[in-house]
Symmetry: C2
Subunit: 357 residues, 2 copies
């Protein structure tokens, strides 16, 4: 069977060149005489691999060694708990900008730990927009403001990096390394790898040294970010890190993050143009809040939406069914989704409208 | 470069046939039109994969659906915290049998949660034995007795499944599925996959329904075992589960766990015979407590130990350096370590002794 154009919301598509390289090395990694999955995490091979991967992050994001780069596990869902456990200290308030289902979950986990405050919410419009940062209500005692930079389900995305006056914690799972980031605005950024930077199984956490200093004593060892910042404490998810290294190298081969953003903007524009051309397709996200990672839209009827998904699949365009919270169609066009795939989808959208509009 | 005989303590060697199958499927998994790393964890392909993997566990261990089989992340180190958080409830005492470094860490994490008690310890003999279960001091209010079934660093292993009168929680990371288990003795068994059943990145947790009922309310969502027992809550480490499925299928192809135990016993005997034949090699573990997963021994001098490791490597026998707590040599001969590799090591040991003894 051939490879299809895969619009899965996550785990998402990976660059074919990355998969080919992994295939090539599957039985023997470099000079190890064994697969990368079979070597000690204390071996020179893994040590070099991890450091190379960290350097890719530094190069792409323009950060130095005052940022610690951690390869953790448990996904964004565990980070909802862990960020609060480390930074929602006594007397402080965790501020949350609620722009979708994942932000709601982050807030709910923090509420189990300490005092929380909703700085802004887009719930009134079924999360079809990003609340204007100028309108956010940030507590006096805010320990941080937590944002979700891209909202997979609803197809909204922050246009840039807000400045709420306190360090932000960002769940960047669904748009990480899809564009430049103004790192000065953040204390910690976390991202499950499985959308833009690798396979499921590793959560990349970037945390500033000065932010680490705020962590109280007595936390469970694995939950304390300092455990991982100070040394390689336990076995990391070696293969997932190995894949992230390849994906980051692939990103760098295409230029910097501005170049990546431009490619992503252009891909997304191909679909939004199709949506805006008439009344057949209706975008869920408001224009200024549109995501260039997840393009969400509805058709005139649910029946047509079902037909769209089925016919697209027969054309090799798969995983387009929208999340039940929005319904309709969701095209996830992360970094590795090739422009050719997006062009094929845009073309299919035109044809489908002609036949059914 | 060719594949070597790999005695890494973990991540450990995988069956070559498993790696070859993964290589074959790297770009397209079954009818998915994409790599297994690129498909949704809600897809029919992953749903079937996870259920097949669970069925392998049920088949091999002879358990039914009253055991939940969870694919978590964070390794044994996170389980040290999570088991205590779920089961070390108010008024109860966590009992620990301390047979090595990992058991010590498990106990230390539990001490952050509640009351703990050391039922037995082998610290007096630098953990060269498993304390006789008849001598264990189990608290009246014991919530559980926690054991480490095999001790990677020291090369000791429980000879069977003790019966301390309360359910046991077992860290089986380093001998899981290397032999049959009397599951009735346990409430929960956990294992990082990277020694006997797959690559790093997935922690398999088996937990009995009746044990789940003991969990208190209000735990962090990801830390509550019931979150994962009731449904697929968040993105699992898909590729690691995929590899575990293949390794378990490979185990079943070789027969049941009794057959696996026999092969492991025979492999270990090849090395212990070499050790016992004279005074040149001195085994660390006492005879009745010897591990058939990690064979630990010393040579007359540290210099000879260094020479042994270096010469072995030049013969394609790698990762034999012992842990600093014991020094000397550690040969990790998990399920997937081929008999041929163990024979080559035994033969090398004879030659090395002849030349240096």
């Amino acid at each position: 069977m051939d490879r299809v154009f895969n619009f899965s919301a996550g785990p998402g598509t990976l660059p074919a060149a990355v998969l080919e390289e992994a295939r090539e090395e599957m039985l023997v990694y470099k000079d190890a005489g064994a697969s990368v999955m079979e070597i000690s995490h204390r071996s020179p091979q893994y040590t070099e691999l991890a450091e190379t991967t960290r350097q890719h992050f530094r190069d792409l994001l323009g950060i130095g060694h005052d940022w610690k780069i951690l390869f953790l596990q448990g996904g964004a869902s565990l980070q909802f708990h862990q960020t609060a456990l480390n930074f929602l200290t006594a007397g402080a308030v965790g501020n949350y900008v609620v722009t979708g289902a994942w932000a709601e979950k982050a807030l709910a986990e923090a509420a189990l730990i300490g005092e929380i405050h909703t700085s802004a919410s887009s719930a009134d419009g079924n999360h079809n927009h990003i609340p204007d940062p100028d309108s956010w209500d940030v507590s006096d005692k805010a320990a941080y403001v937590h944002i979700t930079s891209n909202n997979t389900i609803f197809g909204t995305q922050f246009a840039g990096d807000p400045d709420p006056g306190v360090p932000m914690i960002c769940d960047a799972s669904s748009d990480f390394l899809s564009r430049p980031i103004d790192m000065d605005k953040y204390g910690l950024i976390y991202a499950g790898a499985q959308k833009n930077i690798g396979p499921a199984g590793v959560t990349v956490v970037l945390v500033k040294d000065s932010f680490l200093d705020r962590i109280p004593q007595g936390l469970p060892t694995l939950m304390d970010y300092r455990t991982h910042a100070s040394k390689l404490f336990h076995t990391p998810p070696v293969f997932a890190v190995y894949m992230v290294e390849k994906v980051l190298r692939w990103i760098k081969q295409g230029g910097d993050l501005s170049a990546m953003k431009q490619r992503n903007d252009e891909k997304a524009a191909l679909l939004y143009e199709r949506i805006d051309i008439g009344d057949f397709y209706r975008g869920h996200a408001l224009t200024g809040s549109r995501s260039n990672m997840n393009v969400t839209f509805n058709l005139p009827t649910e029946q047509l939406e079902g037909q769209f998904v089925a016919e697209a699949k027969s054309h090799g365009l798969v995983a387009l069914k929208g999340h039940r919270s929005v319904g309709g169609i969701r095209a996830s066009i992360y970094n590795a989704c090739p422009r050719k795939g997006v062009e094929a989808l845009a073309s299919f959208m035109s044809d489908f409208e002609k036949q059914n509009g």
